[in-house]
């Protein structure tokens, strides 16, 4: 977004100009209704994504475009619009990518369904493997009668000694 960045530069120079020019406190907003506070605006903006920058939540996006969108949210809030209505408006105007998650419709269901299914599939395969292993482990034991216990690996020798020592002390 090279051009947008240029826009940002120009915007910032404007901010600077205003910073030096404004000698007094910002004039109080003469709104008819109470203006929604920044926190109310941000509460909605943080659930939305900037339509022009990639993967930047709207509440922390510094571009001029996003500032305008936050003002739009403020205005819609002042008009008494609900969060759903504002989100709906954003989706209609700027596309589904402004939502922080794909809307639950059509092919987008895949995003929610595939990971749990894959995980369950994995869990099932693992469970089956456990069963197979246990069966295989039991078979030779039954054949050999006594069941030769696998030689304890070195770390467990230590662990066994350790447990034995603990027992002695009790």
């Amino acid at each position: 977004m090279k051009f947008a960045r240029l826009g940002l530069l120009a915007f910032l120079s404007l901010v600077f100009a205003s910073l030096f020019l404004s000698a007094g406190p910002a004039p109080a907003v003469l709104a008819q209704q109470p203006t929604p506070a920044d926190d109310e605006v941000n509460a909605i903006a943080q659930e939305l994504f900037c339509p022009v920058c990639e993967n930047v939540p709207l509440d922390v996006c510094p571009t001029e475009a996003c500032r305008q969108w936050r003002e739009l949210i403020r205005q819609m809030l002042a008009e008494g619009k609900s969060e759903e209505e504002i989100q709906q408006y954003f989706v209609e105007n700027y596309g589904a990518r402004v939502l922080s998650e794909p809307p639950r419709e059509g092919i987008n269901w895949l995003v929610y369904v595939v990971p749990p299914l894959a995980f369950l599939g994995g869990a099932y395969l693992l469970f089956r493997a456990f069963r197979t292993w246990q069966r295989l482990a039991r078979e030779p034991e039954a054949e050999a009668g006594s069941g030769s216990a696998p030689a304890a690996p070195p770390e467990d020798e230590y662990a066994a000694r350790f447990e034995a020592e603990l027992k002695k002390r009790k």
Partner: protein, 191 residues
């Protein structure tokens, strides 16, 4: 989890099919994504798919509240993407308007301003500020910009000839009305 098969056997056919299918599917997906990322979706010489632009009040097209590209067959169409937050757009706004006023009486050329992800109040004050008179409207849901390009920056301008073929792409702002005129004249001459 792939190593669940009884250890005495090789990999069963169904698992092999699954593994290769998954791997190749993934690769295909990435390949398509790569191809799309590497070149714009619409290239010069291609037929532009039809789209409908809703128009801002006061910026209608002969009284119509929306305009479809297919309605403009037989005319040269200049599609300009802009936004009120875009500073470089301001640089070319006057030039576009000047070019529009030059061609408007002839009726052979139509300018369409497509307002890319913008808020209406800001867009209106921008249009008023630069005294723009040609049809303008918002790119609802970025449907139109998606037709033209994947990663759209503004300003971008697309020139479509009488038969709906894309003839020229301008990325970035124009520097003079003559530049716009030159492109349009060339397209008009070709027929």
């Amino acid at each position: 989890m792939t190593d669940t098969i009884s250890p005495k056997k090789g990999v069963p056919v169904w698992a092999q099919v699954l593994i290769w299918g998954g791997l190749l599917g993934l690769l295909a997906l990435v390949a398509i994504g790569l191809v799309r990322a590497q070149r714009p979706m619409l290239i010069v010489g291609a037929q532009v798919p039809d789209f409908t632009l809703p128009l801002y009040e006061g910026y209608d097209y002969g009284g119509a509240e929306e305009i479809a590209l297919s309605d403009l067959r037989g005319r040269v169409v200049v599609v300009n993407f802009w936004a009120s937050w875009c500073k470089p757009c301001e640089g070319e706004a006057a030039d576009l308007e000047a070019a529009w006023r030059l061609y408007q009486p002839g009726g052979e050329v139509v300018f369409l301003g497509v307002d890319y992800v913008d808020t209406e109040p800001d867009a209106r004050s921008y249009l008023a500020k630069f005294d723009i008179t040609y049809p303008n409207g918002p790119d609802m849901g970025t449907e139109i910009s998606r037709i033209f390009n994947r990663n759209l920056g503004v300003p971008e301008t697309y020139f479509i000839d009488r038969s709906g073929i894309l003839r020229y792409i301008k990325i970035g702002p124009f520097v003079s009305p003559e530049e716009i005129q030159a492109v349009i004249e060339a397209i008009l001459l070709e027929g």
